[in-house]
Symmetry: C2
């Protein structure tokens, strides 16, 4: 791992690292915020942040104002890029893609099975396996993890946590895509990366996953008890067409899956919305990360 940036920040340190990823076969950038407690040598729990369409590892660390809360709570923040990048990616369509919602900046946190994407676009494995192993080996991090994200990254956080409830203590999201199988952004990405098989899509669809929990899908025979917190602005221009949080609310209610969905009047899809509520999210995660969660999933 090579450190490319470091900045003192709220008594801790904001760093950016680059490493050669075995999952994506590319150099990946990842931002790591170390709170004062970690700099003092104490191992801290980790909150992973997955960003949205068009973002890289910079957006969250420069715009969310999250570091102050992580500093107060003793939480390490880890924010990876949203896709592999590079002009040397196999396949002309990958290297030169110009769509904001496909290819570079739009990995959708899946393992692609379709050409030309399959060799590199493996953000699911990257976030679930490779990145935590790297973080826990190179930084003063415990194996106590939470995950959050925005929009496409909210989709990533929800699906990754629901598929791996033993690996994360809590999951939250800002304006997530909850049902990619049912909305234009998600349908375009899932068809391109995974082909036309509905079963493949369902592996990466939070609403489909919650609905399937009661049917012992993916080995889950009961609600995960994983606590979920979602904030959604009511003035978000993507709310009706792309995000549709009510689909997740209905599915969770039917499945007995804990969910706190908060509609925030007047807020939009921007980092001004994230900045306003990220302190509450980090506080919520910190209480769970540092206290454990009870059997009901309530905190």
């Amino acid at each position: 791992m090579k450190r490319t940036e470091q900045h003192a920040c709220f008594g801790g340190r904001q760093e950016v690292w680059q490493h050669e990823s075995t999952c994506t076969g590319t150099a990946m950038n990842v931002a790591v915020y170390l709170p004062p407690l970690a700099l003092a040598g104490e191992k801290c729990p980790v909150l992973y942040w997955l960003s949205g369409l068009t973002c890289n590892e910079q957006n969250f660390i420069t715009k969310a104002g999250a570091q102050q809360y992580a500093a107060q709570r003793g939480i390490i923040l880890v924010a990876p890029d949203t896709s592999p990048r590079g002009s040397d990616l196999q396949g002309h369509a990958v290297a030169d893609d110009e769509a904001y919602d496909l290819g570079q900046g739009a990995g959708f946190y899946v393992n692609a099975t379709q050409a030309p994407w399959a060799p590199h676009f493996r953000m699911y494995d990257y976030v679930v396996e490779e990145l935590p192993a790297l973080i826990e080996a190179h930084f003063p991090a415990t194996q106590v993890r939470a995950i959050s994200g925005h929009s496409m990254g909210g989709h990533g956080a929800l699906t990754i946590a629901l598929r791996n409830p033993a690996r994360y203590r809590s999951v939250s999201a800002f304006a997530p895509i909850v049902a990619p199988s049912q909305v234009p952004w998600g349908q375009k990405a899932l068809r391109t990366y995974l082909g036309d098989d509905p079963a493949a899509w369902a592996q990466y669809d939070a609403v489909a996953m919650v609905k399937a929990q009661g049917r012992e899908w993916m080995g889950l025979s009961a609600p995960s008890n994983l606590p979920i917190l979602i904030d959604q602005g009511t003035d978000d221009p993507f709310l009706q067409e792309q995000l549709r949080p009510e689909l997740l609310k209905t599915a969770c209610a039917a499945a007995g899956q804990p969910l706190e969905l908060r509609l925030q009047p007047g807020y939009d899809h921007s980092y001004y919305f994230i900045a306003t509520f990220i302190g509450e999210h980090i506080g919520w995660h910190a209480r769970i990360l540092r206290a454990g969660r009870d059997e009901s999933g309530k905190v």
Copy 2:
């Protein structure tokens, strides 16, 4: 005035406006944060923020995390662009300038007297006269003002406040250029915009101004009593060559000008540094803006 952006943010509203400036003869962008108190119809004091080299009206509002503190304290934040812009600016050298430290993005908060800059590069008059008049006419703002800024903008804040102590209750700065006449960035800008006359330079040099206070320069016969707060990171790469805060400290001590200069160990020149301490600056300004200042300039 035309509103080009608005976002709910910490219970208030972050807006960006565009207007035709009579000072610069161009369209100018200005960011305005209205705290909840202002949205409720109460007039609030205003903190003006002047950004540094290469910045426009976006940097401060997206990266500093200042809105939360302004929301708590009931302060309006106003952050203008750092120069006139546009391909139609008179003079080839202005329109096509490529230097990061001259021309567009680098107005240095002076009224240029030299060709081809003089017709448009009038950021001093813009910030001192036109902008406050506009803000106080169009927003729920009182005439109680403070001013702050970063680097080139710290230079702007200090020189503008020292020349107009009756117009501002307090001034603060992050890593300001305190003596532009003595450092490369400042010398290049002052020579280009003002020509070679040292007396012209001294009008835009905080250290020169403080030194001159005791000599009845510019009508000031005594220290201004204007409270000054400065934060400076010790790991700032520009500290020794461009910033040199010790020159201001010495001048203020000799002149009896109040100054609190804080060296912050390990911090650099970035917005991570600003974000860490902007809450303390806004709290400091707010106490002065809402309480007035005593005769000694102490707060």
